[in-house]
């Protein structure tokens, strides 16, 4: 069986064309999402906590309101509430003007420190906003002969629990890549082997046929892992994705999901009459699932019973377990419902594949 697995891996590596495109497709999407930065909203929301009751405080608030790419600032009474909103991703910035701003501290020094709290996920936008606020206030303070002629803007990156969209999508793309590759490559391969009598040739040997299938599955699981590592590697190294958590747990979820899709591939090959039909069937199964399982968009807004159907598609638990593990630091035990669903899928698709598989 080791020899068979080795030969299978060799075949996949030499079948560069298929393997290359299988990998390139999700990678292209990684690049697209990395470049387009869907995280960056057109305008950013800002809240101002101002407790000075001085003309300077009011003037600063007005100056900020005039910044074109910022939403009209909300005046907040409670700093802590606004901080929580940033942490939940509901608010982007909080500018705090302390009540003693511009006043003598009692030691002859004026208090000139402003505080800007930000969501660190939008690092590029943050630099822009910071610079804009900086210059707006500088312009404001320079011509008017107020007591405050200089100030400092202290930026604080808050710890944000809400993950970046890119990180969410990156994990979705790992799932997408593994699903399409597993379903289509197995379906096409097996129907090719069937049409070339290779399956028959194996059947006339005394080899127990389960060993052959086991070797195919092991080789494909190994490929799925390599695929996941490359996609995640590109996302992390090139586009600064921030993933953490239990990597072993992530690998386990990837392998379970991959096993479901391999079974589906075997099942497709049983129904397809030719390798090209197998490819078409694989795509027809895989592509709708990409959208319905929330690879790119949240599926919460789907109408009617669709959200419930979506929940049981095999890609959904795979993606949600991967996201909970890598973005929310969940342990493998905490994602037990997804593991259970995936295991159920493995059993159901495995039994169906065994029942419907045909050698010629």
């Amino acid at each position: 069986m080791f020899a068979l697995t080795k030969a299978n891996l060799k075949i996949m590596i030499r079948n560069r064309h298929t393997t290359f495109w299988a990998l390139l497709f999700p990678l292209m999407l990684v690049v697209v999402f990395g470049i387009f930065r869907f995280d960056t909203a057109d305008s950013a929301s800002i809240a101002i906590y101002e407790d000075t009751n001085t003309p300077t405080g009011t003037a600063i608030t007005e100056a900020i309101s005039e910044l074109a790419f910022l939403d009209t600032p909300l005046s907040v009474e409670n700093e802590l509430t606004a901080i929580t909103e940033i942490k939940n991703g509901e608010l982007d910035y909080l500018l705090s003007i302390p009540s003693q701003f511009g006043q003598d501290q009692g030691n002859g020094n004026l208090l000139t420190r402003l505080q800007l709290r930000v969501n660190p996920n939008n690092s590029e936008q943050n630099q822009l906003v910071e610079a804009a606020i900086q210059s707006a206030i500088t312009i404001l303070l320079t011509p008017e002969p107020t007591e405050v002629t200089s100030f400092s803007l202290e930026v604080e990156n808050l710890e944000v629990s809400q993950p970046r969209y890119f990180d969410v999508v990156l994990l979705g793309l790992v799932g997408l890549g593994i699903m399409t590759n597993s379903i289509i490559s197995i379906a096409v391969k097996i129907s090719t082997y069937r049409s070339q009598s290779i399956l028959k040739r194996l059947l006339v040997t005394p080899l127990p046929i389960w060993k052959y299938f086991a070797s195919e599955i092991i080789a494909h699981l190994a490929l799925a892992l390599v695929q996941a590592i490359i996609i995640l590697g590109v996302g992390i190294l090139l586009f600064g994705a921030r993933l953490s958590g239990d990597w072993l747990g992530l690998i386990l979820v990837i392998l379970l999901g991959s096993a479901v899709f391999l079974n589906i591939g075997f099942l497709m090959s049983a129904w397809a009459n030719s390798p090209s039909a197998a490819s078409g069937m694989g795509n027809a199964i895989a592509l709708p699932m990409v959208f319905f399982a929330g690879t790119f968009f949240s599926t919460a807004s789907l109408p009617w019973v669709l959200p419930y159907i979506v929940e049981v598609l095999p890609l959904t638990p795979m993606l949600s377990a991967m996201r909970e593990i890598s973005l929310e630091n969940a342990s493998i035990i905490e994602v037990w419902p997804q593991i259970l669903t995936l295991s159920g899928w493995i059993i159901v698709t495995g039994l169906a594949a065994v029942k419907f598989f045909r050698f010629n």
Binding site: A3, L4, A7, K10, I11, R14, N15, Q196, S197, I198, K200, R201, L202, L203, V204, T205, P206, L207, N360
Partner: protein, 307 residues
């Protein structure tokens, strides 16, 4: 000598269609046994049942002393199989394919030795697609020997090959027999069956029509010779009549060309030549052929052997 294969009353039905109809034959150890018949005669189905790829509807088969219904694995390890038109992995070279197939058996021969045996040592790192048709066929023969089998089953080993390549494959099959391997093969080439096989089974439309040595089959026919006469001028009616009287059958195949079947009595040839002289026919060309399996097949089935 033991029988390598015993087939008793084998029948295979696909729905209402009977592909193999009550077929019985024995293959003796060490012989080259040919199954001859046109496409659709049931040859491949018969072989696939022997190989364990299909189940018989009824009948009893044993291979190398093992009942095929009892223990498939026991004899699969000892038979070598070449399937009809089997392609091999596109992305592995010859040596790797043989290693892979070998790994499916408890015992196997080294790939280099097998490739040397079929004259493909130079090509060991090529892919199957890079080989010529003849080389591909020799490779599939090598692949059928990968487990050092006692019995080799070849399904149409020379179909589609040029004469040179066909003779190469025949040499390989004769080598197998010399090494003590029993060979069963199917073919629809008469000359292949005649020159290669120790014994022969003729199948047509699912039925077994005859099993014998090629020589016995031929000598069972009364018409042993076929004469092809080409005359200088078209014969008149009297001349044709006298030719007809001195042969068992006559057929015109060209303007002045005739095929005559002549029985094998000692005087019959003499008689025909006398007739030609006395009726003043002039020969442009004369060809004499012994009866072939083609004739045997025709007389047994009433059909031409369709390709």
């Amino acid at each position: 000598m033991d029988d390598a294969i015993r087939v008793e009353g084998l029948t295979k039905q696909f729905g209402s269609f009977t592909a193999v109809d009550d077929v019985s034959f024995h293959v003796k150890s060490g012989e080259i046994f040919g199954i001859l018949g046109p496409n659709g005669a049931g040859k491949t189905t018969t072989l696939e049942i022997i190989e364990g790829l299909q189940k018989a509807s009824s009948g009893h088969i044993s291979v190398l002393g093992v009942d095929v219904d009892q223990d498939t694995k026991a004899y699969k390890a000892r038979i070598g199989v070449q399937l009809q038109s089997s392609a091999y992995y596109d992305y592995l070279n010859l040596e790797e394919i043989l290693d892979l197939l070998g790994s499916c058996y408890p015992t196997n021969l080294p790939a280099t030795e097998l490739l040397k045996q079929v004259g493909l040592s130079e090509e060991s790192h090529k892919k199957v697609k890079q080989l010529s048709g003849g080389q591909q066929q020799r490779f599939t023969v090598a692949a059928s020997l990968v487990n050092n089998p006692d019995l080799v089953i070849l399904d149409e080993p020379t179909t589609g090959l040029d004469p040179q390549s066909r003779h190469n494959v025949w040499d390989l099959i004769n080598d197998m027999q010399n090494n003590g391997v029993t060979v069963v093969l199917t073919t629809h080439y008469m000359e292949e069956a005649e020159s290669l096989c120790t014994r022969l089974a003729i199948m047509d439309r699912g039925k077994l029509i005859a099993v014998d040595t090629p020589q016995n089959m031929i000598s069972r026919l009364d018409n042993t010779y076929t004469l092809k006469l080409e005359l200088t001028d078209p014969p008149n009616e009297d001349q044709i009549l006298s030719l007809t009287e001195s042969s068992t059958s006559i057929e015109q195949i060209g303007p002045t060309t005739y095929l005559l079947k002549v029985d094998k009595s000692p005087t019959s040839l003499d008689h025909i030549l006398q007739t030609i002289v006395t009726t003043e026919m002039h020969l442009k060309h004369l060809e004499m052929n012994p009866v072939t399996l083609e004739d045997v097949f025709l007389s047994l089935t009433g059909n031409e052997l369709r390709d």
